[in-house]
Symmetry: C2
Subunit: 315 residues, 2 copies
């Protein structure tokens, strides 16, 4: 759906600012609590919490993250789920979100209504309260920036740091070819992330958003290299489809395509991996794969990851 | 300073994403704590707090909130201070902020460096930790969205609701003509807001960002009208200067110009106003003015506020 309209009466300009805010509150419905806990005051108010707080921010920009082919509901769902994936990557649970919209005044009110209804549906599904936001004009633009607030579920937050040489590398789900649909149909791995934070043998965690080859170095301890075993990398059906179309290996897609939104984590070298994997499969149907380990030098037959490039945001 | 450059070597594109993030961390310096408390992980982590948490979000957009005439340091300072003013308007104190940048790849690295150095300086001055962010491409655009997290200082958060018919209306500072410089030189009234939250005779509070005439209705109780006494409205020198230039009354500027970033609050009808004002002037040099009260109908000689329009964001 094209977000802009040439008919003034159908544009956000015809609503005016106050009319638009009233409409947005209607579209959000129960996903947005009343002020001061939600929209309508200078700040939103959240109750005190005895847990550590988590914060992340991610935008969607017209022409970059979505175009006319993506329904506005799916744009909004993707925006919230991208942020939820970051929260899953720390083992946290969501609390609330604020959303800032920058838009040309010719954006159609119908597009915006669908966007906010999609946001509300996704927010309800994941227990996120939309507590505030901002609308501002931007000539020719359409961008939404969502800041997600969450909290640790227990005493432990899993960061990107903590892996040691010898530790095992795990990944959830399958990788590659996200552009064929997964990039807006994915499920953020919140339950999985929270569960991993409770397992002491898991030492570090992140989500894969720019491709395994670009993201894995962030978990790699100093003085080590990730030795990833090529046949172990779980290829998605979409990666294979793309490979048939463009002639590049499916493995290259799995390593380089962005927006997998799967979890990537490391397990202590001496851990009982069989016990971990058994406990996982009792709890989740999500696929779990050990793809390699951190070694002092690249093992024979392992993938030279630096020859693959992930998604680069500014080129 | 013009934010865009036609020389590739001077653009953010030449830095690439990872190079740019490294540079931003350098520019932010001590204003940004190390991960996981700051930039560098999937989420930022904030310690647990026994206070209620406050959240607000505001952007600055090129062509809307700033242009080539505003130095990038001042753009960043304004962005953070706009949000701090919202926090002051609840009586809160700041904790941390995340910043999302959407920019064309021809934005100059020099502009961006000045912007982040300005952000860091303002963040240090107001005790705000810059704990995370995002950078994304937006063709032809330049916008920064800042989400500020704060907390209540005591048991009380002051909202926009609570005033009753008969209550007094107060304003800090002077109003109008912000465009002549105040709009980026203002001081968010954080100490004043926190102090007001501790005074039980103060019933509601907000900041004036769109002009008194547009903002005051938000504090007005149902069934009442604000009777504002025209000579009582504190006119800024800038409002008088603008009046001389454009022939409109200075009072019209004080009522309608946006971006005063002063506090507007209400005091219980039966309160000891002399005691409040005396305590205020012992504590603050900031001007404090009672401009009227809420009455069942408009009092003779009072301002018909609905004839003045504040700043409208979408027209």
């Amino acid at each position: 759906m094209h977000p802009f309209t040439s008919h003034l009466a159908e544009s956000v300009r015809a609503h005016g600012e106050l009319g638009l805010i009233a409409a947005i509150r209607r579209w959000l419905g129960t996903a947005s609590p009343p002020a001061p806990f939600g929209i309508g005051d200078d700040c939103a108010v959240l109750p005190a919490s005895r847990h550590r707080q988590l914060v992340t921010v991610d935008p969607v920009v017209y022409g970059e993250h979505f175009d006319d082919s993506i329904p506005p509901r799916a744009v909004a769902a993707k925006l919230l789920k991208r942020n939820l994936s970051d929260l899953a990557a720390m083992g946290g649970r969501p609390r609330a979100a604020v959303i800032a919209l920058a838009l040309d005044e010719t954006v159609s009110a119908r597009w915006l209504e669908q966007f906010y209804r999609g946001l509300a549906a996704t927010a309800r599904a994941y227990n996120v309260a939309i507590v505030g936001g901002d609308i501002t004009r931007q000539k020719g633009g359409l961008a939404a920036t969502l800041t997600l607030l969450g909290e640790a579920q227990g005493p432990r937050v899993l960061t990107r740091h903590g892996a040691k040489t010898g530790d095992w590398i795990y990944v959830t789900g399958t990788l590659g070819g996200s552009i064929l649909g997964h990039h807006h149909k994915f499920t953020p791995r919140l339950s999985e992330g929270a569960w991993l934070a409770g397992r002491l043998e898991v030492r570090s965690l992140m989500d894969i958003s720019d491709g395994l080859a670009k993201d894995l170095p962030a978990l790699t301890p100093a003085g080590a290299t990730p030795s990833v075993c090529p046949p172990a990398v779980p290829l998605s059906a979409a990666a294979r489809t793309l490979a048939r179309r463009d002639g590049r290996p499916a493995l290259a897609h799995a390593l380089s395509d962005g927006e997998d939104f799967e979890l990537l984590f490391t397990v202590a070298a001496r851990a009982d991996r069989a016990a971990l994997e058994k406990a996982w499969s009792k709890k989740f149907s999500t696929r779990l794969t050990c793809i390699g380990r951190f070694t002092p030098t690249l093992e024979a037959g392992a993938l030279p990851l630096d020859q693959f490039h992930g998604y680069e945001h500014l080129r």
